[in-house]
Amino acid sequence: MKTESLWFIFLNASLINNFVLAYFLGICPFLGVSGKLSTAFRMGMAVIFVMLISSMAAYGIHAFLIWVDAPFLQLISYIVVIASTVQLVEMFIKRFSPSLFKALGIFLPLITTNCAILGLALFQTNKGYNFIESFVFALGAGIGFTLALVLMAGLREKLDFAEIPLIAKGVALTLLVGGILSLTFMGFAGLGG
């Protein structure tokens, strides 16, 4: 009995239940890498990429674990496989695009161990998505993540040139903007339902 169309899975992951603004996944990069638009965008792309990879990896492992009947290894295998895959990607980037590596700084290792990535793997398993659905889910989540990050970056770049009161400078301001963005995304509720 199928209730969720692919289109809906996509909308849900990207807008209605945006990973960052509704599920609170990947807040650290959301706060950390959203200062500059260009970095945010590249980070977003990296996240989409990693999400797709880990979604597929997680799908495979899940099948494997079902096969060997060891569901209790789910978490540890997900994280290990995802982490190593991403570490490979990281080494790759470091080798072939030092500038990208520099821009993302300490956050590349953090993508490895980012809530959004693992959360994606766990959610898709919980929701029992098949391969295609998982793929669409990962794509939606990644795009939603990028959207949140990029919107935030635009606003923060604008706020770099604002007379922010001393008390609100820093993370507090970013959180407040995040809160308002999250309020804004509530408008998408029920879409496609």
């Binding site: 638009l37 990029v150 606003l155 604008k158 009161p165 309020l183 509530m186 998408f188 509720a189 879409l191």
Partner: protein
């Protein structure tokens, strides 16, 4: 023989145009008829609500700015607009304590935190309303019927609810044209919409007066006409085309234009220049984006009305619009690339 020490300053030594406080004052003037009609439609509760909304915004602005030693914080009139518009977007018999809370949030969170006038990235009035809508979703989606006979003699019980308590409703509630449309597939007559004979937020009921206010401001060059035109045009166009393709599902263009907060939002709130793009083309694109969002939320989304969310979303993308849509600078571009 020349007595005075000269004053020196930088050119230009003459200035023209209107000043910021003048513009803001005129927006207040344009809003007054809308507010007056709201009081006429909903009676005492609307009056109390507008007063509370204004008071909360003005007081917050005053004290916060005093606190960080900014001088004469109210003299630019901008917060008066915020207060009025914020009040006009609320349902008429919302408990006054909620109104007050939202007003404080609007100014403190929507404006002050960003550095005050000119620096806010979201529309403060809408930040306040979005907060209230998320905090007290039931109260803010309960509507009151217009033109109740005892509206000038009786203050609804819910209006005077004590702080932190749930409102108790003692008067006829009414459904808004949009929720009638969404949940009952019943469209309201355009004439009634135009003249404000429907229930809804305090200030959204008379599309006509709002339009007149907007025309006044546009005539005085105090408002960017492109935003409302693009926004209303987009909504009208999409809804007309879709209505034509399937009238059973999709409401008609005029109904869409004149129902809900669209008019107030398009004319007075999307046009808040502080949080919208600055270039002419950017403003048009911004209007179109908001228009599309409004349509999507209204017709395909879960909520009956999406103007507020659409404008906030527009605010969030406007830095990007400004980034990407820039006029071609004189003497640049392909034909002038220096060889």
């Amino acid at each position: 023989m020349f007595k005075k020490t000269l004053h020196i300053g930088t050119s230009p030594h003459i200035i023209g145009g209107s000043s910021t406080d003048q513009i803001m004052r005129n927006v207040v003037f344009a809003l007054l008829p809308v507010a007056a009609f709201a009081v006429y439609t909903f009676g005492l509760s609307a009056l109390l609500l507008l007063i509370t909304a204004l008071a909360s915004c003005l007081l917050t602005e005053y004290f916060l700015n005093r606190w960080i030693d900014k001088s004469s914080p109210l003299s630019d009139w901008s917060v008066t607009i915020t207060g009025l518009l914020y009040g006009l977007t609320l349902p008429p018999h919302l408990p006054l304590w909620m109104v007050f809370v939202g007003g404080v949030i609007a100014v403190a969170l929507g404006k002050f935190i960003f550095g005050g006038l000119g620096y806010n990235v979201f529309n403060p009035a809408l930040v306040g309303r979005a907060f209230i809508q998320a905090a007290f979703p039931v109260a803010i989606t309960t509507w009151m019927a217009p033109f109740l006979p005892d509206r000038f003699s009786h203050i609804p019980g819910s209006t005077l609810t004590l702080p932190f308590l749930k409102p108790v409703y003692d008067i006829t509630s009414g459904a808004t044209p949009l929720s009638l449309m969404k949940f009952e597939h019943h469209t309201t007559d355009t004439y009634n919409l135009l003249m404000g004979m429907t229930s809804g937020s305090t200030g959204e009921t008379s599309a006509l007066l709002i339009l007149l206010g907007g025309l006044y401001l546009i005539a005085r060059k105090m408002m960017n006409w492109r935003i409302p035109v693009a926004l209303l045009g987009t909504v009208y166009l999409i809804s007309t085309v879709l209505h034509w393709s399937n009238p059973d599902i999709y409401p008609g263009g005029l109904f869409m234009l004149f129902s809900g907060g669209l008019m107030l939002g398009a004319v007075f709130m999307a046009t808040d220049m502080v949080a919208s793009p600055i270039t002419p083309l950017g403003a048009t694109v911004y209007g179109i984006i908001i228009g599309i969002m409004i349509y999507v939320i209204r017709v395909w989304g879960g909520l009956p009305e999406g103007v507020m969310y659409a404008i906030l979303f527009g605010n969030a993308v406007s830095p990007h619009i400004d980034n990407f849509i820039r006029p071609r600078v004189y003497g640049t571009g392909k034909q002038w690339s220096k060889s």
